[in-house]
């Protein structure tokens, strides 16, 4: 198997995730797209780990899974708080910092 098969699949998923983050207005959907991005990076790490016959790739993939779990927990708490305060999770309406 080519190494590039996996790397290009990861690149495609990454680009789709970036599109989702940039175009979605719903806060929960933005978080889902971020999960997609983190997963595509994990494919890269595991593919390089197999390519170099080194177990470190898998270790870092596991670390990223843990960090992603923490991220989604805090992210959903923030989205919930925005919903409670504004009755909407439209991220383009949360623009109080705009000058």
């Amino acid at each position: 198997m080519l190494l590039n098969q996996f790397l290009l699949l990861a690149a495609v998923l990454f680009a789709i995730g970036v599109y989702g983050v940039l175009t979605r207005k719903n806060g929960v959907l933005v978080l889902m797209s971020i999960e997609l991005i983190l997963n595509s990076v994990n494919i890269n790490l595991v593919a390089f780990g197999t390519f170099n016959a080194d177990v470190s790739g898998q270790v870092f993939a596991l670390f990223i899974i843990a960090v992603a779990a923490a991220e989604v927990g805090v992210g959903l708490a923030i989205v919930l708080l925005i919903y409670r305060n504004r009755r909407s999770i439209d991220v383009s309406e949360a623009d109080m910092l705009k000058g």
Binding site: M1, L2, Q5, L9, I16, A53, V59, L62, F63, I65
Partner: protein, 177 residues
């Protein structure tokens, strides 16, 4: 395309893996595209489950069994439940919505396409026809755990504290008082 030519001249022992990879790649890309374009939040979550499952299948293809199991347990088991709770708690109506996307979607599409073009150029340029080893030795869970608890013990402890802090922080932020 030259990539397909390279895959075609593969040693025959990898043929089943390549077919499996093709199926997994098509499923994950189609599901990911559906996820970022669908107008129903619950459907987007279910498409994300499909993407995560096919990523787990990719890990198995790469002989990373422990990461695949963790992917299924953590993502499909826990993160998706959290996402669906988020959907439930933040919206009243279930069904299609027409106000999920920005009006200027083409900018996002342009950025994503540019990113993909640059990344695939760099990857094809640098890793052209590098192949995975002829015999992929599966890295067992014991090896992964040995590595975590010897070389990476400090990052592991840091991640544990980070997870604890994030969970306490999430409770504090979301609590009603």
């Amino acid at each position: 395309m030259s990539l397909f030519a390279l895959i075609a001249q593969e040693t025959p022992q990898f043929l089943p893996q390549n077919i499996a990879f093709g199926v997994i790649a098509v499923i994950s890309v189609v599901a990911a595209l559906k996820m970022v374009t669908t107008s129903n939040v619950v459907h987007a979550a279910l498409y994300l489950v499909l993407v995560l499952a096919s990523v787990a299948a990719t890990y198995i293809l790469l002989a990373a069994e422990f990461v695949a199991a963790t992917q299924i347990l953590v993502y499909i088991g826990a993160v998706m439940v959290l996402m669906l709770f988020g959907v439930m708690l933040t919206r009243a109506q279930i069904g299609a919505e027409d106000d999920l996307n920005h009006d200027q979607r083409w900018i996002g599409g342009l950025v994503a396409a540019l990113l993909l073009a640059v990344m695939s150029y760099a990857l094809i340029d640098h890793y052209g026809d590098d192949r995975l080893p002829e015999t992929i030795v599966p890295q067992t869970t014991a090896e992964v755990s040995d590595e975590i608890f010897s070389t990476y013990i400090v990052p592991f402890e840091a991640i544990s504290v980070l997870l604890l802090a994030a969970l306490i922080g999430a409770i504090v932020v979301a609590r009603r008082d």
